[in-house]
Symmetry: C2
Subunit: 341 residues, 2 copies
């Protein structure tokens, strides 16, 4: 992070605004601001409240308020210092402020470093659905400083590992096998293991997004485990389960559905479940509604962005290392939910 | 409007949402919905409150609420039936809902037909500035039905003429000369005169936007009169002066500034002022602050989106038919404000 001001991809401007949250700001805010002062005449800071439950319009508006109160113009560069929530909101603010100003991601969580900071998906939640309002808007630069992971709570490290694990079944079984050997090192925050996990995850994500930025097809495979996962997050109330935790249990459900669709065998599901558990993630999904649990899951999944005309499209594993987007019979989905909760 | 469902550029989808307002909806809503039912299985309607003062997040959110409540997916087509406010908000909702769904403009005011519906600028106002939050997002189709102008209040017809007049000084003096001969016919809503005004305005706008969609340079000339105009709108409170009225007085101010910068002569300013007056528009700007009127104008103009590092960039006429973007000494701007208010 300390040399970021020297990076040639950094856009020129008089002003910069560092957007962070009340947890990350006190840890790394001053360091980033001091670095950026070598490059920008004026560097403002804004601390947002921390947590997925604040990923809404009210919080987003704090960024617009700050930009306008400081008289920030069209060239002002926004820096997102924090996890996925800060990155998504800062990115959407950058996409929308004066119809677009440049922004840079400085992710400080594993989840943001391996997933959300790369690929240009930005946005906020709506009471009726996660990430329903947003933009495709690419950062000019993503700065991953592995040292920031030292202060990451263990629960959030595990949540980040969910997105690392995801890349194996959908694209790279060699990466999955490497993780099976490196899981202890990753959880112990071994710098070399983390470096490989972050680099390989970003490579796979960049390869996929490079072919399909707007998610008209291929990109949707990055949402493996996310259709069930989003239902868990929305059903429990945003912020109760971490995104990565919901994706962990969601991947087990999606793998189970893949098996019941005849695409993978039981051994593969077990192998994935075991890796997810070793990452410290839940492999059992929560009951969202005691009266009609499967019905509640289905209802929540029908508003998923991948759904079309009310038909839910699942990311399934079509043999280890390859993903497909496919609808599934409701009865089969209900069986999966019953089996996994 | 009645044949719009047959247009090949109309995107395929199961659902469509017509967004209109409480004034236009009762006049043309049913007609558009009935037409669209030939093409879409389900056509929803949403009526927003009417007026620039409602061009804010709260109203925008009504569109997101409706889309989510109806279970609208990523293919749902939004139709903006109304004036610039409806078009700008519906366009921004389309840009942001699930990070982008297709939309179609059906402008029912002259201002929207000749200006705001074409070019892909969408957005909402912020208490500290007009159109500060938005996106560049192109409609799939713009449907101009001149018959809808029959119900347009006279004051709004005049406001629309401001944007028609604008195209002459910045790009086409022949068009300005035509308007000088056709102004009475335009105000009497002569169908042939309106057809030429709308067609030529859209041609010029499309030519400019085609070269510079994101307003990195040339496109800014379309904002002739808008820097002063936005200050008038913001200073008086959004909705007190119509946008076109503010642009009318703003063009006189910008022409006056061009003259004081030595770019055009007094005769040209007088010729433009006369045409603006004949369109039924104000040529005298309002006093925004009795104590320090010029200071208040300058303060409001410094948050204009074209400003850079606090320096206001004016669209000036560099000889009739040609516009330039240029800064101006504060003292000269103060003189212009004093002379025009």
């Amino acid at each position: 992070m300390d040399a970021v001001h020297e990076h040639p991809a950094l856009p020129a401007s008089a002003q910069a605004l560092v957007v962070t949250n009340q947890t990350v700001g006190p840890l790394y805010g001053e360091r980033l601001v001091n670095t950026l002062k070598h490059r920008y005449s004026v560097v403002h800071t804004l601390e947002l409240p921390d947590g997925e439950e604040h990923k809404n319009w009210q919080t987003l508006n704090l960024i617009f308020d700050a930009l306008l109160q400081h008289g920030c113009d069209r060239k002002t560069v926004l820096f997102a210092l924090g996890g996925g929530v800060v990155g998504d909101m800062t990115g959407f603010a950058a996409a929308s402020y004066m119809r677009g100003v440049p922004f840079v991601q400085v992710p400080t969580t594993l989840l943001a470093q391996v997933d959300s900071s790369v690929g240009g998906k930005t946005g906020i939640n709506h009471p009726l659905g996660k990430n329903m309002i947003g933009a495709f808007y690419q950062p000019r630069l993503v700065v991953c400083d592995l040292a920031t992971l030292d202060t990451l709570p263990e629960r959030e490290l595990s949540a980040g590992l969910a997105e690392v694990i995801k890349y194996g079944p959908i694209a790279d079984m060699e990466f999955m096998a490497w993780q099976e050997g490196a899981m202890e090192a990753l959880r112990a925050r071994d710098r070399a293991a983390l470096a490989h996990a972050v680099r390989r995850s970003c490579e796979i994500k960049a390869w996929v997004v490079g072919q399909d930025e707007r998610e008209s097809g291929l990109r949707a495979i990055l949402n493996f485990g996310h259709t069930f996962g989003h239902a868990i997050e929305a059903g429990m109330g945003y912020g109760v389960w971490l995104h990565g935790e919901a994706v962990g249990a969601g991947m087990v459900m999606a793998a189970e559905l893949s098996m019941r669709m005849g695409l993978v065998d039981q051994a593969f599901v077990q192998r994935l479940r075991s890796l997810i558990a070793r990452a410290g993630l839940p492999v059992k999904a929560p009951v969202l509604d005691a009266a009609d649990n499967a019905g509640r899951y289905l209802e929540l999944m029908r508003v998923d962005k991948k759904a079309e005309s009310g038909e839910i499209r699942f990311v399934l594993i079509d043999g280890p290392g390859k993903a497909v987007l496919r609808a599934a019979p409701d009865a089969l989905v209900r069986d999966v939910i019953d089996a996994c909760c």
